[in-house]
Every structure is written in C-alpha cells, then in structure tokens.
Amino acid sequence: MDQMLVILKNDLAELDRLAEATEQFGSRNDWPVKVVYRLNLSLDELVTNVISYGYEDGAEHRISIHFSYHEDHLTLVMQDDARPFNPIARPDPDITQPLEERGQGGLGIFLVRQTMDTTEYERRDGRNVLTMHKKIQREVPQSADGDTGNKNR
C-alpha cells in the first residue's frame, strides 16, 4: 500500500508541481509511463477546471488530491471548496464532428472519463469530492535476457 497527499493552491502554475508529484508516485510504483501520462492529464484537466471556473472571490484556496495504490488498484480522491460542480454530469462532446462544428467545451472531462475506470461525484460539507478508481498493473521488470538484449550503449 502506497499513499500520497498533494495539496495545491488555486494557481495554474501549480500544475507543474502536480505533474512532478504524479510522476514520482507512478515511478516509485513501477507504473507504465503511458499510464502516468494519462493520470497526470486527467488530474490536470480536473484541477484546471476548478482553478479556472470554481472561484469568484479572488482569494487563495486549497485543492487536495489523495492517491492510494494497493494491489493494482489506484484510488484518487480530489477535494476542493469551489462552487458546486459535478464534472461527470456533463455530456461527452461529439468527437466525430467536422472542424466547423467541433465545440470547445467538455474535452478535458472527456479525457478524464477515457482514462479512469470509475468516477463518482459528491457534494459533502461544502466541498466537491471526486473519487476515481483505476486498475493499474505494475510494469514487470525486464528479464535478465531481455535486459541484455535491449542494451544499446
């Protein structure tokens, strides 16, 4: 069981720190690079939404993301005190439309849905609480033979 708590300010510059934390957690748990990328993207989209549209008071706020990974199962819980917003209530954009009709909205959340196995939203004690699950298998370390064969130094 591995856990990590990331607390971000409502400032888009924090996205770099979020990416670093996600990469660190993924790397120490041997997740495939592609999975780390997609998780980082999903959290980025959700946090960006909260920071960009969630607050109107111009004050500093905290957004927390709790990671817990146990037996190939990742649970992410994101909490914020922004105005009530259920990201999963949005309909998916139609990604088959031609350029002229393609809209701007909903793409970020769509990318989240395409990445997570489940996403649940709850408004609890004045906070948005988003709980997500994803099955992630550790990348099996290469065998001695395969390792030697791939060395191109």
Partner: protein, 111 residues
Amino acid sequence: MEILETKIDNNVLLLAFKGRLDANSSNAAQDQVLAAIDRGEIRLLADLARLEYISSAGLRIFMMAAKRLKPLGGKVVLCSLSEPIKEIFEIAGFVSLFPIHPERDEAVKSF
C-alpha cells in the same frame, strides 16, 4: 513552453513546440500562434517532436488555428508526434481534424 518560429520552404511557417502545453502555458502559446495567422501566415507546420505534454487547453490552440485558417485557404499540419502525445490526439478525436505526418520533410511537401 517555447515555440520557435522559422520560415521554411514552400512558404510554410514552422512552429517548433518545446516543453509542456497546459492551461498555464496555453494562453501565451495561443497568442503567438494567432499572431502569426494575423500577420498573414496561412501555412502552419507544427513540429511536436519536443513537446513533452499536452492537455485539452493545448489541443484547443490547434483547433482554433485550423478554424481560423480554413476560410483563408490555409491549414495546420502536424508532424513528429511522440507516442503519448499522439495518443491524446487520438482519444480526443483530433486526428481527423489535421493532417499528421511522422516526419517533418514529408509534412513540408504536403502543403
């Protein structure tokens, strides 16, 4: 995030993206791309070889540029996408919106 602009053959403006294109860096990137279009550049080649990361905020820039260029008879062509970047374009359904080439040379000739 950095975008290096170079005028190359075929009256093409090469835009070499470098770094992370997220909601924090996308406004400046978008301003730069749209400014190029405003100056009359209508053949844009975005080389994404050194783009490390893209979110929906970054994807929108390409869509916006393509939308602006279409009535002007111009286009946005993409090349040299790394695997994770290509995957995001695929999931977002963006591969049908732009011509995408694996190599830059080939992309230049396609205009």
